[in-house]
Each structure stands twice: as C-alpha cells, then as structure tokens.
C-alpha cells in the first residue's frame, strides 16, 4: 500500500477475507474476493455486501439549508418529505455536472451522500456557496455499507426486525445489535437493497453480522461496476462530468418540474434550452456485437471515420454474457436500434443502441410508481 492510499475502517476485514485491494479514490479498496463474475451473479441471485465507506457523507443544517441547497441543485426540495431520498446533481454555471448525489430530508437537516473521488471538492463548493447560516458536518466518523440483492431484505430483517416495511427511496434510524444505523432502501445495482450508514467504530461488528447471514457474501468494486453498468446507472467521472449536462446524460428525471420552470439553479439557461430544442448528443446504452468488450475511451465514428462521440463505460455483462457499453452519440443516432460504429484497439466494432437498463430494475416499490 502506498502512502497515498488511506485505509478505510474495514481494511483489515477485507484483507482477512482474501480481497484483492486496489487504489481507488485515494483509498485502498477491495476490487474482488472470489471473482467478479461469481460476485456479480451472487448479488443478482441472493445478497451482496459492499463497503462504500469511501463515499462522502455529510449533513447540511441551518435555517436556510433548503434554500441554499436548491440554489445549487435542480431538485424541488419543498416536495421532499421527511425520510425521503432524492437523486440530484451539483451543477456548474454551464449546466455541467460537478457531482451526482443522494439527498435525504432528515428532520431539520439534509443528509447528503456523494462520490468518494469528488467529496472534498463538493464540500468546498457547498461551504463557499451556502448561506452564512448553513453548517456542513463532514461526518468523518461515518462508514457506509450497502446490502444489495433480492434476498437482502431477508438477511437484514433478521437483524433489524421491521426493515421490510421501509419503502424504496426512504430512510430511517434503526439499531443493529446496539449500533446506531441510518438505513435507506436504495442502492446502485438495480436490485432491491439497503444502504447502511454507521459509525466507523461499529463497522467491523455490523459487517460481521451481515456477512454471517447465509444469503450474504462480500462483494468488491469490480462487481459493483458491472452491476451498475447492467442497471444503466451512470458513474461519475466516466459517464458524467463537468462537460456533460443532465439532458445529455439522460437524467431529466432529476430536474424537478417546478425547478425546470422557475430555474434558480446553476446552468438553468442551457438546460432549459436543451429541454426545448434537444441536446446535441445523448448518453445511450449499446449492445456490442460479438464477444469482445469495448471499453471506456473507444471512439464513436461516423461513416467517414470522423470522431462523433465516445464510449464512457464498457465491459462484459455477466448476466447477459455479452459485452455492453454506455456512450455519448449524436442525437440523430440515439434512437434504439441504431447501429453505431466504434473504433477500439485498432478495430471497428458495432454497437446497437439499446434501452437501459440492460437488466431490469427490481426495486421494491410500495403503492405503485414513485
């Protein structure tokens, strides 16, 4: 381990279970235990335990927290009820994405979860722009686990009776054998599941309790990436960045109705224009013909061989046993069924624009769509 890689609270826990550790977002993180395909398929069939303690967790409090956050995000927080989560975006003045995040109204404050590699910048961005009354608590003492898969609810209900009643995209305070936990029904795999915020000092105990459940195996970052790719979920720094807008990225659902009409968030003018006229390019899913994966960085080319877009994520789908990818393509080529030419490793590949998710989501929604 180099000095640049900070150990996370469960570092020893992962190593004791045979994880291969790699540098990620400045931390040493487990990339895999028994193998990416086995871990991926286990999560889709049963339940996987992910350590995502590298992610940034913080609380925004103060009298003007709601108004302050609304000046930076396109979400309508006035409609966000207590204990409810919303996916949102920190935007820059050009409508580009500084980060994607989950925001939860938790009583008098907002609990925010952001990406690990961008958390320092996000906090600085918020602290510089929130009203003077705004307080950002960095929650450096917190760890974050995710339990994902169709049997996650069975495993967790044994430790947290009543958890099965928690609805999709809601969160509440619980205890896991005496350890305080904030648990939400959410995740990044397309499966039913939970995200569990705990104190770092309780992380080993809670991870042990979860991993002891017969449905549960620890899962590394490798399968986390292949699961989210199948689920069509973008990864910040790859599929999203400062030069992509929510409209290009297909994240229009993150632009609340009132905010689209009223504006008052960074980049609104460009975003409103793209909503009216259509963006120049769009993020699409691609099914790659043949068996060879096409990776991030492959070039989308037109009939004359000119570069007209880029693959931003690509790999092998263990569930579909075929290569899949996400790419930005010109709007005219974004219709499902369109054949896209891709240049990679000195060869030309064909991708067929495919609706995402590649593998259907299986969220546990109560009372119909939300």
């Amino acid at each position: 381990m180099s000095d640049a890689e900070t150990p996370l609270p469960l570092d020893g826990w992962h190593r004791a279970r045979g994880a291969r550790m790699v540098a990620f977002a400045g931390y040493a993180m487990p990339i895999q235990y028994e193998g990416i395909i086995a871990e991926h398929l286990w999560t889709r069939a049963s339940a996987g335990l992910f350590d995502v303690s590298h992610m940034g967790q913080f609380v925004v409090a103060g009298a003007e927290a709601e108004k302050g956050l609304e000046s930076l995000l396109p979400a309508d927080l006035t409609l966000l009820k207590d204990g409810r989560l919303r996916y949102s975006l920190l935007l820059n003045a050009e409508g580009g994405i500084i980060d994607d995040l989950m925001v939860t109204r938790r009583g008098e404050h907002f609990y925010v979860v952001v990406n690990g590699a961008t958390k320092e910048g996000d906090i600085a961005h918020l602290e510089a722009r929130l009203p003077r009354t705004g307080v950002v608590d960095h929650m450096k003492e917190a760890a974050l686990l995710a339990l994902q898969g169709p049997k996650a609810v069975d495993a967790l209900a044994r430790l947290v009776p009543g958890i099965e009643a928690l609805g999709f995209m809601t969160g509440a305070a619980f205890e896991i054998e005496g350890a305080r936990a904030w648990i939400s029904r959410s995740g990044y795999t397309g499966e039913d599941g939970f995200e569990i915020s705990i104190l770092a000092r309780d992380a080993g105990k809670v991870a042990d309790l979860l991993a002891e459940q017969p449905e549960v195996k620890p899962i590394g970052l490798g399968a986390r990436d292949s699961l989210r790719l199948e689920a069509g979920l973008p990864l910040y720094g790859h599929d999203l960045g400062h030069d992509t807008t929510p409209v290009e990225a297909g994240l229009v659902f993150a632009l609340s109705k009132r905010r689209r009409a009223e504006g008052g968030f960074p980049g609104w003018h460009r975003i409103a224009q793209e909503l009216a006229d259509g963006p120049i390019r769009k993020r699409v899913g691609l099914a790659i013909e043949g068996r060879q994966p096409v990776r991030e960085g492959a070039i989308v080319v037109d009939g004359e061989g000119n570069e007209v877009g880029k693959v931003t994520s690509g790999g092998f789908s263990p569930s579909l046993e075929a290569p899949i990818a996400m790419a930005y393509v010109p709007l005219a080529s974004a219709e499902p069924g369109t054949r896209i030419s891709l240049a990679s490793r000195g060869k030309i590949f064909t991708g067929i624009v495919t609706p995402m998710p590649f593998v259907p989501h299986r969220y546990q929604r109560k009372g119909g769509p939300q």
């Binding site: 990339i31 895999q32 193998g35 990416i36 395909i37 086995a38 490798g222 990436d225 292949s226 068996r291 060879q292 994966p293 990776r295 790999g315 092998f316 263990p318 290569p323 490793r345």
Partner: protein, 123 residues
C-alpha cells in the same frame, strides 16, 4: 520438452522446433475472469515481442506477445469458444497458439520455471 517463461507472463513449451504458447497461472490470477480470447490463425508469422493474441477479462484488455519468433501452426479454438479455460487450466487446456520456431537461440533469453517463480515473488 522444456518450458520457458517471459517477463510478460507467457509460457512456451518446446519440443524440437515446435512450441505451444499460453499465459501463466500468475497472469490469469491477475486478470481475473477471462471473457474473450483472440488467437492468431495458422500461417501467420509472429516475431518475438510482437502482438500475437488478445485476452480480455471483465475488467481489462491485454495483448499476448509472441515469446519467440516463428510461424503459427494452430490457434486454440477451444479458448475462443470457452475463454474461462484460461482461468481453470492456464498452462494446459487454456493454451493460446502453437508455432514452429524460426530461431531456437531466442529461447536462451527466456526464464526457466525457477527463475520465473522468483521473478513473480519480487513483483
């Protein structure tokens, strides 16, 4: 019959001027689950250190280099059809291609099993 190894984690098994090439157990362990293999066709000339085959895992793509120069006599269709053979039997059924050596002297530049073992331990 002798087996030699490269710093790029290929093995080459030699009998007379006939050689079989694959990637080592260490290499497959580093790659993880192999999902795609491309092997050269019979008749292709390969030169030592030149690209000869492709192996891709869930996470990464790698080139397989020719450990020695020669003419390919057979690519292993079995690993093309079932890439996981590279994980389960890298130094047996998971071979990549066979070739006829053009210069046996090149073998002296390769590592023995013992040398390769200590090379991997130092990585």
């Amino acid at each position: 019959m002798s087996v030699y190894y490269t710093r790029e984690h290929e093995w080459v098994r030699v009998e007379g001027d006939a050689a079989t090439v694959g990637i080592t157990d260490f290499a497959q362990g580093q790659l993880g689950d192999v999902v795609f293999v491309e092997v050269p066709e019979a008749g292709r000339q390969v030169t030592r250190g030149g690209e000869a085959a492709v192996v891709e895992s869930v996470k990464a793509a790698s080139d397989v280099y020719a450990p020695v120069s020669g003419t390919v006599t057979e690519g292993n269709q079995a690993v093309v059809d079932e890439p996981s053979l590279v994980n389960t039997d890298p130094e047996g059924e998971g071979w990549f291609f066979k070739l006829t050596l053009s210069d046996n002297d090149e073998l002296s530049e390769l590592m023995s099993a013992e040398q390769y073992k200590s090379y991997c331990e130092d990585l």
